[in-house]
Symmetry: C2
Subunit: 306 residues, 2 copies
């Protein structure tokens, strides 16, 4: 057995075999595999879990298929407001950004907040100003334009409705968790939020303990209907079930996703890894874009419930 592993997700929700063409299915699986490989390559070379989750999330942010970075959905104002968070289990340090526009890779900015500021969470124009002081890459509106996302927005524009990524319920978020050869864990999550969102809504993604958590016991990245994950403090609840109640990672993930969240109506899922390298991909929705390379080196990518 290796002493390292990685798991990623690209969103959860009403994803059925009949809703994707074989070509679409293939595109998603190959994008997931590419992101997994980007992270795993770092772990193999004795790199850090932090670098691995950042690389995997950057890969997903750069892919137009997922609702994060380049593929972010449109807000009610026709803009793209993105959220991201990263946590380093080794030092229990964290960085996050909420409601940022134009930043090419929000996860890179979240890491910069962790490493180059005295703060954990920066928001809006202020966070963009911070990104500029570090010369992080920005992109024009063209970069974030996507005909499919635009069409999604046109369908609900002017209405009070927000859409959870796709027209059927789908929670677009990307994320990664990893254990490295030094025994350290990390988690990273990034999202473009809800189509047609208004009022500067912030979901669970950039909230430490809700959508993202890492200590050196477990690392968790969530995707789902954010408001439910916030009220459940979903990611940190898993850590508490392990440290205070003695649950295994698998038990803790099952309790939070299949009991706590499901009972409250909170649809979605998460990926998690523990210090032994065990990987858990748990969801209560019909599907979740997901992948992992476990401590045995076995690679798996999937979309539907099997």
């Amino acid at each position: 057995m290796n002493k390292y592993s990685i798991a990623i997700h690209g969103g959860a929700g009403t994803i059925r075999r009949e809703t994707l063409t074989p070509e679409q299915e293939k595109s998603y699986l190959s994008a997931l595999e590419e992101a997994l490989d980007a992270g795993y390559k770092i772990l193999e070379k004795n790199g850090t879990a932090l670098d691995a989750v950042e690389a995997a999330v950057v890969s997903l942010e750069n892919c137009p298929l997922f609702n994060a970075g380049k593929g972010s959905v449109f807000t009610a104002d026709g803009k793209h407001e993105m959220d991201a968070a990263v946590m380093d289990g080794r030092h229990m340090t964290a960085g996050a950004v909420a409601g940022v526009a134009g930043v090419r890779n929000p996860i890179v900015l979240a890491r910069a907040v962790m490493e180059n500021s005295e703060h954990v969470l920066l928001s809006g124009k202020g966070a963009e100003e911070f990104a500029r002081t570090l010369n992080l890459p920005f992109e024009s509106e063209d970069y974030f334009y996507n005909a499919y996302r635009y069409e999604q927005w046109q369908q609900v524009k002017g209405e009070a409705t927000t859409l959870l990524d796709h027209s059927e319920k789908k929670f677009g978020t990307v994320g990664a968790v990893a254990l490295d050869q030094s025994g350290n864990l990390a988690a990273a999550t990034s999202t473009g939020g809800m189509t047609n969102k208004r009022y500067g809504r912030i979901g669970d993604t950039p909230l430490i303990g809700c959508g993202t958590w890492a200590d050196n016991r477990c690392a968790i990245s969530c995707t789902g209907h954010g408001e439910y994950f916030i009220r459940a403090v979903a990611a940190y609840d898993i850590a508490c079930l392990m440290k205070y109640k003695g649950c295994t990672l698998a038990e803790a993930c099952r309790i939070v996703v299949q009991e706590t969240l499901k009972q409250s109506g909170g649809e979605g899922g998460l990926v998690a890894v523990d210090q032994a390298g065990n990987v858990v991909l748990e969801f209560n929705s019909e599907g979740m874009y997901r992948g992992s390379i476990d401590a045995g080196g076995k690679k798996n990518v999937a979309i539907y419930r099997q």
Copy 2:
């Protein structure tokens, strides 16, 4: 014994007897008493814990002595950006706002987010736009102007330094927790953040599980160096120590404030109440503006460590 109780805080930090004149001390104590009474009056008349914590926090927000609402500190841009959160333990619903300007009572807006939106956390101009749709009261810059706060800002303006409320370390936040006669709990927290803060920094106050938490087991409102409270998921950690480890409220508060936070360098404190009406006011700083009326009806207001 009554079946209801309330506790409030007005910030923690380096507050020593020699730093306050007897007149200042008297002003603080009477403002704390006024806020306590505003909440307790509601509990006595069989009102809800939610109404009680809102009334207590509104009273503290309207008092220029505390760093919240009217008394909020200046940001690096010479503005006032306020954060607030409320959680209703009865339904485990929550509402919060981050980085709002001009809103007279951010805690009232946080409650409106909980009751009148599908979201938990709204931010910046978007949150203000939401407040305007509900005709919530706004105030001009004059209302928030305060010579003392202005002087604090002038001392550090143009520097990269942020100040934790006062020039000596003091964490300006206000908050309240309560148990009502129906056995329901609620928590509310509000702040003007850090003097000279930049980059749209968001602290622990509006983050559910970090600065604010309520279920019907316990309700918690924190004040302190926000970044440490975020990384510790401080408020929800207390709930988890109780539900998963069987700690009493007092034990859980001591562990989080005197061990977890103190060991990481996280200065501050919190007020908490459990479903039996036990009240805990715990802090690891030199002082905390605080007050409570316990289930025996005994009123207490204090500033320094006794």
